[in-house]
Each structure stands twice: as C-alpha cells, then as structure tokens.
C-alpha cells in the first residue's frame, strides 16, 4: 500500500466538502476518482497537496503521515500534481516551466548559482536534458522555447502535467487532465499515463469526467457524491453499480 486516506473530512464553514473519505491506493495503480460536479473531488486533491486543512482524518503516504507537511514539502515527499484550470507560469517558456518543476531536486544555492560554479552548470545541463527527454516522449520538443501563454489550451494542459512529472514523483495527482483536449489528444494522453505507470512505476490518482478514458485506463475507481464515497471497485463493477447510475442520472420515478 502506497497511499491511504483514512476518514478524511474537510469542511468550509458549515459545508462539509469531504465526509469521512477512506481510500487505499496500491503501488503502480491508476486510481480514478469520479463523481458529479461539486462532489468534493478537487478538495481531496487540495487536502493531499496541503492547500486546505482537513478537520479530521489521516493522509498516509509510504506509511508516513503527511498532514504535518507544508505545501512546498509535499513534492519533496514524492507527490506532485497538475491543476484543473492550468496553473502554469504563463510568461515563462515551456522549458523554464519544466525546469521549475525540477526545483526540489536541484541543490544549487545562491552562491553556486550567482558565480555559475560547476555544480550549477552541471545541474542546469541535467535539467535541460531531463526536460527534453520528457518533451520527446510527448512529441512536443519543437515548442520547448515557446512562451506558455501563447500555446493552445491543449498544449498548456500537457505542459502542466509534464511539469509535475519533472521531479519523477512516486504519486502523481491529476485534476481533470484531459478536460478541453480533443479525442485524439485524449487517447494519446491515456497511452502516456499507462506508459509512465508501467515504465516509470508512477502511481496516479486522477480526477476525470471523460468516462471512456476512465473506464479504459483505470485499475480502480472510486465514486464520490456530495462529499461521500458511494462506490469503489474495478471499472466493470462501477459501470453497473446502481448507486453510481443514480448519482449521475438521478432516480427513476417509479410512479410515472
């Protein structure tokens, strides 16, 4: 077991956004968290990234409680994330965005950077190499020096994910990674997620509304509605689960 949520509860004022949620994610899984809008899925990711504080519950990663960590320490622990609405550094190039994703792994301090000491030069070369390797995998090498804000939304989404991958996290949190992508791009991203799971051994916790992608690549799925987990299981089980159908489509009115 790589990652575990135990009785996680998050409240905003009087509203309970996440209610007693428990999840277990095994190594090398693609775990999808689905549910209607407002179900509290993004809040779960924000709680894991330490952007909001749960009122109750535990978040355990590799056996250690990460609730004590500050937001910037989460990535060092091995958990990286992408954002629903793309939180890129818009005025930076793609390359610089990716290099920034490597921040926690680089060690050059103020002095070695300012005087361009060998450590700094070596690390910069290494950073460029890693970024290029990732861009090659995504066949986006040609846009390395473009400013991010000039890119189409689909490319921005991919850069957002690539940036999170730069630090080679053990657990990758994806918040609607293919929203706004066309079917061809979606298919390519799906293949890419499977590839990083299999080749790099990265575990993925993904929020996504695109059911065909979710059903195709997920190893396990949990469904949330109004802050509660209403179902969990294999893709086949979820597809035919009565509570899930009810949450998405509503209850059939038997009297009609």
């Amino acid at each position: 077991m790589l990652f575990e949520l135990k009785d996680l509860t998050v409240q905003f004022g009087g509203l309970t956004a996440v209610n007693n949620l428990s999840l277990t994610i095994e190594q090398n899984q693609i775990f999808s968290l689905i549910g209607p809008n407002g179900a509290g899925k993004t809040t779960v990711l924000n709680a894991i990234s330490r952007f909001c504080r749960p009122v109750k519950g535990e978040i355990r990663f590799e056996g250690r409680d990460i609730l004590a960590l500050k937001p910037h320490q989460v990535v060092r622990a091995g958990i990286a994330r992408s954002f629903q609405n793309v939180e890129l550094f818009a005025n930076m190039t793609v390359m610089d965005n990716l290099k920034t994703g490597l921040h926690p792994l680089l060690r050059s301090g103020v002095f070695s950077s300012a005087f361009a000491l060998p450590l700094f030069r070596r690390e910069e070369r290494e950073a460029v190499r890693k970024a290029e390797e990732l861009l090659d995998m995504l066949s986006m090498r040609d846009i390395a020096n473009e400013t991010v804000k000039n890119l189409p939304f689909g490319h921005q989404k991919i850069v957002d994910i690539a940036r999170a991958l730069m630090s080679r996290p053990k657990l990758l949190l994806l918040d609607e990674p293919v929203a706004g992508l066309n079917p061809a791009e979606t298919e390519k991203m799906g293949e890419f997620f499977c590839r990083i799971r299999d080749e790099w051994g990265i575990t993925i916790l993904m929020i996504e509304h695109d059911m065909s992608l979710v059903m195709k690549i997920s190893d396990r799925i949990a469904v949330m509605d109004f802050g509660n987990k209403i179902a969990e299981g294999l893709p086949d089980e979820i597809q035919n689960h009565p509570d899930v159908i009810e949450a998405y489509l509503g209850v059939r009115d038997e009297s009609a």
Partner: protein
C-alpha cells in the same frame, strides 16, 4: 560551433567594451564622466529593484533606504572601524542583505498595496533614523567616506574611479544574470506568476520572498557603498523618498524583468535632470512627462522599443512579399 560561442558571448563582450570605451568617447569632459559614474551606480540599483519587482512580482517603494544602509555601513566600517575598502564594499552588501531579509519577512504576509505602504514606511524611516542617530551617522552634517583604496592604490582620479565603478557594475550584472537564469531566479518568477503552483513545485514561497528582498538589498547596498566612496560625502538627503521614487521610475521606464531595461531606465532618469537643471523645477516636469509618455506608449518599458521595431519590420516584409 564558432557561431554558437559568438552568440553566447556577443552581448556581454560588446557591453564590456562599451563600458570600457565610454571615457574615451567622453574625452576630458569631467562632468560627463561623473554622470556616467552615477548612471552605472543607479543601474546596479535599478537592476536589483527589477529583480524584486520585475522578476519577483513584489514591490518596494523605499529602495533608497537600502542604498542608505549600504552607504552608511560602508562609511562607518572604513571611518570608525578602520576596515579597508575592499572588505567594506562586500561587507556593506552583506549587512544590507541582512536588513533586507528582515524587511522581506513582512512581504511574506503582505501583498500589493499593503506591501507598498510597508516599504514606503521603511523608505521614510531610514533617512529619518540617519538624521537623528547623529553619534553614528553625523546627522545633518553627514559623513565623509574616504576615496577607495585597493592594495595601496588610491582611486583619486575621476578616470580610475570610473573604471572601478564599471568593473563592479559588470560583476554585479554578471552575478544577477546568473541568478536570474538559475533555479533561484526561476523560483522568483514562478512566485510572480502563480504562488499556488510555485508551492506545488516545492518552492518555499515565504522563504524565497524574503530571499528576494535580501538579494536585492545586497546589490543595492554594494551600490550604496560605491556611491558613498565615490562622492566622498553622504547625508540623509541623498537617500530620501524622492530618490526611492526615482529608482522606481527607472524600472518602469526601462522595462520590467529586463537587465538592459534597468540600464536604459537609469540612463534616462539620470540624464534628464542633468540636461534640465538650468531651469528650476524643469527636470521634475520633464521626468513626469517622460513617465506618462513611456507608460502610455511603451508599457513594457523603453527596452521593448527594439522588439516592437523588429515586429514592425517583419510585418512590412510580409506585406511586401504579398505585394509581389
């Protein structure tokens, strides 16, 4: 291969040559050489303020106070403690950096207007402090720092002083350029662009904000030290809030997040008073008009003129191709 090397070193080489040749161009005109020295000193400060504002997205309305701390600490180190100039110069920088870190701590919690007011308070307080603490600072009558001495050589002539300032300027520029292109600089820009994403990338946002102030203060302190030993006299009036606002104007006129822009800004705002001081009050009017015009027509600063020009040329080429 040779072309790559040339591309990489072209700008630094040309810039170094330019700075080295300026005295030859100016010839014997002493007041122009003085102006050149002031432009370089203010360029260092404009660059360091730009590091904070243009790259880091923070604001400081009291930056002349860091200059004051650098100038006074360097003067006090040399005059009262007998420390040689070549140690006092970086020591003044480090001392100012320490103060800068302290000033940066409120920046961790304050944003936008609130940070502006807090740094404004700092900008007003330090000149006042140097005025009142006359045992240490000489109060109204100021201090008379000695001319720089390096390994027994006294920088007495204007020409030798110019070259000293030019070398320190080049060194500061090189250091800042390296910093901007490092993980530290990327972290600064990341904080400017999105604090949430910066934190998610593992950047310790509060620490880096304080660090930004500290690094900016370091270079401003070094420039303050140069100023003190170059002019040979410092008083609280040299670092008042008016100077702070001029420094701010240099960054805006030159261009945010640009090293060449900082030089252009410092050049323009040093030259304007130089050429308009024969009529009382005229320089303020011209400065004001220049600021309005630049922000109106070149919101990215004067440094963007070249880019705008290139784009216009490109368009014209495209148009003429279509005409054929």
């Amino acid at each position: 291969m040779i072309k790559n090397v040339w591309n990489r070193y072209r700008n630094p080489t040309l810039f170094t040559l330019l700075l080295m040749l300026i005295p030859a161009v100016i010839g014997g005109q002493k007041h122009l050489l003085t102006t050149a020295c002031m432009v370089l000193i203010y360029s260092i400060i404009a660059m360091s303020l730009n590091l904070l504002m243009g790259f880091g997205g923070q604001i400081s309305i009291g930056h002349a106070s860091f200059m004051a701390i650098g100038a006074y600490s360097s003067a006090i180190f040399t005059l009262k403690l007998g420390i040689p100039f070549w140690i006092a110069l970086p020591a003044a920088g480090f001392f100012t950096a320490l103060i800068g870190f302290g000033v940066g701590l409120p920046a961790v919690r304050l944003k936008g207007h609130f940070l502006a007011v807090a740094t404004l308070g700092f900008g007003v307080a330090i000149p006042e402090l140097t005025m009142k603490w006359d045992k240490l600072t000489g109060g109204f009558s100021g201090l008379f720092p000695e001319k720089p001495v390096l390994f027994g050589y006294i920088f007495k002539s204007d020409l030798s002083l110019y070259y000293l300032i030019a070398v320190v300027t080049l060194l500061c520029t090189w250091l800042m350029r390296n910093l901007i292109n490092s993980r530290i600089g990327r972290a600064f820009v990341a904080i400017r662009e999105s604090e949430v994403a910066a934190a998610a990338m593992g950047i310790n946002v509060p620490l880096y904000k304080a660090l930004m102030f500290s690094i900016s203060a370091f270079f401003t302190g070094v420039a303050g030290s140069l100023y003190a030993h170059y002019i040979g006299f410092i008083s609280p009036f040299d670092f008042n809030i008016g100077i702070s606002l001029t420094l701010l104007a240099m960054v805006v006129v030159g261009g945010f997040a640009s090293i060449p822009g900082s030089f252009i800004g410092a050049l323009v705002l040093t030259l304007i008073p130089e050429f308009t001081n024969h009529v009382a009050g005229l320089s303020l009017v011209v400065t004001g008009i220049a600021l309005v015009l630049v922000t109106l027509f070149f919101p990215d600063g004067l440094v963007s003129v070249r880019k705008i020009w290139q784009e216009r040329l490109k368009k014209r080429k495209v148009v003429s191709k279509h005409a054929l």
